[in-house]
């Protein structure tokens, strides 16, 4: 029987939305990018994508799930810190992203509402319970076959 490759583990997608893009979230963006490779391997198996980065002066919102990658966000963090880029549309916007100058509170709430929803802990339990329901009869049948 072929053994299961550890790299065949399902990859989880973590969608991040950064509200505020000052020193704290810019440092987070750099950390995420620096950790991208290790996060993609077991035991994490995590692929990080951004839905949006929001600052007072402007915001970028991804129009597709893979538009805002960690490298892009880390680069724009460095450029904003160096004063050579902005999120208000004056800097060329990443492909498949929408820039908005000075987003209002309502616009930020709209961006949050469009963030792809994740699996909650409750849903995770349901998924595990459903998987359990499938696995138990399968194991019992296997056990019967094996005598």
């Amino acid at each position: 029987m072929a053994s299961r490759c550890p790299h065949a583990e399902p990859t989880e997608v973590l969608t991040l939305t950064l509200v505020g893009f000052g020193s704290v979230n810019r440092a987070l963006a750099r950390l995420v990018h620096a950790s991208e490779e290790s996060l993609s391997r077991p035991p994490f198996n995590l692929k990080v994508r951004y839905h949006a980065i929001i600052a007072r002066h402007g915001s970028w919102e991804a129009l597709t799930t893979s538009a805002l990658r960690p490298a892009t966000v880390a680069r724009i963090a460095d450029e904003i810190e160096a004063g050579v880029a902005k999120l208000d549309g004056s800097t060329p916007v990443a492909h498949n992203c929408r820039a908005r100058p000075k987003p209002s509170v309502e616009e930020v709430r709209g961006i949050i509402s469009r963030t792809p929803a994740g699996v909650s802990v409750h849903q995770l339990y349901v998924v595990q319970a459903e998987a359990f329901k499938l696995i138990v009869p399968f194991c019992m049948r296997e056990a019967e076959l094996l005598g």
């Binding site: 973590l14 949050i112 994740g118 995770l124």
Partner: protein, 143 residues
């Protein structure tokens, strides 16, 4: 499987914790985990946010709201509280800028050099409200 997380670090509003608290509540209602570095929502809406997060099956984490991530909340919740501890009083430097400046001066830096170290590390606060920090710690200690 998909996970969603909102990381919030906007300017603090000491009077009402807004609009950060609204953003956090929206994200929780939407099924996102939320991580916040903001004192305002902890002071004004911590109970509601924790209840909403529990109901939605997500996490509201705010460890870095005070003392830049020194694990006071998780240590209290996972260690002291289950052990039967009660918060009677606390004292110490509640902001990291003070800690970094004092540590730097202990190691021979001038105050300005030590302050520059804190600024370069991105932790020096422009306006620091000690009352809010005390309120955050007190709320965490009473829960």
């Amino acid at each position: 499987m998909k996970l969603s997380c909102l990381a919030e670090a906007i300017d603090v509003d000491y009077k009402a914790g807004e609009p950060a608290a609204t953003f956090l509540m929206d994200a929780i209602a939407h099924g996102s985990h939320v991580v916040s570095a903001n004192k305002g929502p902890v002071v004004h809406k911590r109970g509601q946010l924790l209840a909403a997060a529990r109901a939605a099956g997500v996490q509201y984490l705010h460890e870095s709201a005070v003392m830049d991530g020194v694990p006071i909340f998780s240590t209290w919740k996972a260690g002291f509280l289950p052990g039967g501890a009660q918060l009677l009083k606390f004292r110490g430097a509640l902001n990291s800028t003070t800690s970094v400046v004092l540590s730097g001066m202990e190691q021979g830096q001038s105050m300005n050099e030590a302050l520059k170290t804190a600024q370069d590390a991105g932790i020096a606060e422009v306006h620091f409200d000690c009352g809010s920090s005390c309120s955050v710690v007190r709320r965490a200690g009473l829960d």
